[in-house]
């Protein structure tokens, strides 16, 4: 499981892993074949060409919402930001979205794209999802600014920001995730081949969570600071409806969502100088299991009023959790980030952090107040630096024969 995400054992969730298993079995029957293969290999003691059960697991592409948002995070993911080529008009963008939708609909179901020069790399979707979004420039360049979702705009500047243009902005987002990095790489290439006829790459950012096969069951994932990250998040359909899916105006965006993508560098080297107690104070939760410092278990409610013998707050006033936490139902959202680790700088420092992806109906009212509080005070800022920022409007899903964004572009 990734940071910031629900444990996969949550059966009440409509996006539970079990749900996907069932869907995959019904949709293709391929899962059953895979399972048989595994059994056979075990029984005769050989290591024949068994297919891991997860390899053929399929997430439906068509639906009310785009996949890849309420889908439990895959172990690998890539975000691609694109800049529309000069002179691109609405008709051209319609063609682009039709082709991208067609590629995504095939690849996510384990079929080769049309055309696809490496069709054998498409056969193990491993929960591959492809999700598309439109940046502020998309609306401006196409004369569609009046159709932009409520509250949708580039984030205001924050004092903590050290944004680099090579990780910021973008007219078009392609977000891909899979539990198989080879499948993911192939999907990235296929969609890139289609998109580059219409747009140029602004940035490409890849990240990871734990391998689904080795992730401890029922535990929220960890980030590269070693923290259990993703405890407080929407899980049930009604929580998604309240926080994530847009409704009302503009009507084309009904069932869509807005996304904030922040590339946040985490200084693992200075973080290393802290001992466990100091690390726990920075967030207000235990490193061992993610429990609040006032509780025993991960999902215990934190007691923000509790004080220790010397009269100090057990969960400090500067703690990330206290600063981010809100009782205002209109300031909650989904966090679905990936860890990134792009190797080691020449001077030996790590080049790692979080591709912090958050999803909400309205960026301005739900996200900005929380980000502003964290920018004003959050001890975690000592070791973290936002170096990239982008926002996208993710249209609702589509049905077979349709395409993503049709409500806006048709």
């Amino acid at each position: 499981m990734s940071p910031h995400t629900p444990p996969k054992t949550d059966d009440s969730s409509r996006v539970s892993r079990r749900g996907f298993l069932l869907t995959a079995g019904v949709a293709t029957g391929a899962l059953a074949v895979g399972a048989v293969g595994v059994t056979a290999a075990v029984n005769n003691g050989t290591t024949g060409p068994a297919v891991a059960p997860g390899a053929t697991e399929v997430v439906p592409f068509y639906g009310v919402h785009q996949a890849g948002i309420d889908t439990p995070p895959q172990s690998s993911g890539t975000f691609l930001g694109w800049t529309l080529k000069p002179g691109t008009d609405r008709e051209t963008v319609r063609r682009m979205m039709r082709l991208l939708t067609d590629d995504a609909a095939r690849l996510t179901q384990g079929e080769a794209a049309l055309p696809d020069n490496d069709p054998y790399l498409a056969t193990n979707p491993a929960r591959l999802t492809a999700t598309f979004g439109f940046g502020p420039g998309f609306f401006q360049k196409l004369g569609l600014s009046a159709e932009a979702p409520a509250g949708f705009a580039e984030l205001p500047a924050f004092s903590i920001d050290k944004l680099q243009p090579e990780y910021s902005g973008g007219d078009l987002l392609i977000q891909l995730g899979s539990d198989d990095p080879l499948t993911l790489s192939h999907a990235v290439r296929q969609l890139t081949r289609t998109a580059r006829s219409f747009a140029t790459v602004a940035w490409s950012q890849s990240g990871f969570t734990r391998d689904q096969g080795t992730a401890p069951a029922g535990q929220t994932g960890r980030n590269l600071f070693g923290q259990v990250d993703g405890t407080v998040n929407p899980r049930r359909a009604d929580e998604f409806a309240a926080q994530v899916w847009a409704t009302g105006s503009p009507s084309w965006f009904d069932g869509g969502t807005s996304m904030v993508l922040r590339r946040i560098e985490m200084n693992l080297d200075t973080w290393d100088k802290l001992d466990e107690g100091a690390k726990e104070l920075s967030v207000g939760r235990k490193l061992s299991n993610g429990a609040p410092l006032t509780g025993e278990n991960e999902f215990d409610a934190p007691d923000l009023a509790a004080k220790d013998a010397s009269g100090l707050h057990v969960i400090p006033t500067f703690a990330h959790m206290r600063r981010a936490k809100t009782d205002n139902p209109h300031e909650k959202f989904l966090r679905r980030p990936l860890n990134y680790d792009d190797g080691i700088h020449a001077d030996g420092r790590t080049n790692a952090g979080l591709l912090f992806a958050a999803y909400m109906a309205n960026i301005k009212t739900q996200y900005v107040p929380v980000q502003q509080r964290l920018s004003d005070l959050d001890l975690l800022n000592t070791w973290t630096t936002p170096i990239g920022s982008a926002v996208f409007a993710l249209p609702p899903g589509c049905q077979a024969g349709g395409y993503i964004g049709e409500g806006l572009l048709a």
Binding site: R95, R98, L99, D102, L114, P115, N117, T194, S197
Partner: protein
């Protein structure tokens, strides 16, 4: 395959259509109408810009034959306005005497086996467009009519897709004219 053969074949297929039509009119109750094969995943290699006045491309698809007898794709006619004035051809890719993969017109069309299918794809069978008069942008559509050996025809729409391969050289079968580098 030279042009005259191609013309002859097309002529034959037209005759076949005529005969089929006559048969239908003549003894309708006794004769079951010939079955039209189905086409799926029809696409054409995009030609974003015309190069050196030598613009050509190929159409690819999967054809299915639900009948108990083989049917051949014997020809095709472009129905996209202003795209080309040259007749379309059915092509295959073969190894020539020099060991290179080259394309040439098929002898007798492309067989769709009984109760089976054939996939036209880069490096293999395709429907050939010659002398394009305008570009085919990625994502645009091209329409054409497929002609089958049983006299049936099928209108199809090919979506233009970018792809790097399908660049076989044209080798007009040992003709002394030499070969032409193709980009389709």
């Amino acid at each position: 395959m030279n042009t005259s053969t191609s013309v002859t074949k097309r002529g034959l297929s037209l005759v076949a259509v005529a005969i089929a039509a006559l048969a239908l009119v003549g003894c309708a109750p006794a004769v079951t109408a010939p079955v039209t094969p189905t086409a799926s995943d029809v696409w054409i290699k995009a030609v974003p810009e015309l190069m050196d006045g030598m613009a050509m491309t190929g159409v690819f698809m999967t054809l299915e034959n639900p009948t108990d007898e083989d049917i051949e794709l014997v020809g095709a006619t472009n129905t996209t306005e202003g795209l080309t004035e040259k007749p379309l051809e059915t092509h295959e890719v073969v190894k020539n005497a020099a060991g290179e993969m080259v394309m040439q017109e098929t002898e007798g069309g492309i067989v769709i086996p009984a109760q089976g299918s054939v996939t036209l794809k880069p490096g293999g069978y395709h429907v050939m467009y010659w002398d394009l008069l305008k570009p085919i942008p990625v994502g645009s559509t091209v329409t054409l009519t497929l002609e089958f050996s049983n006299g049936t025809t099928l209108d199809v729409e090919a979506v233009a897709r970018e792809i790097a391969n399908a660049n076989e050289t044209y080798d007009p079968e040992a003709d002394a004219e030499g070969s032409t580098e193709m980009n389709h």
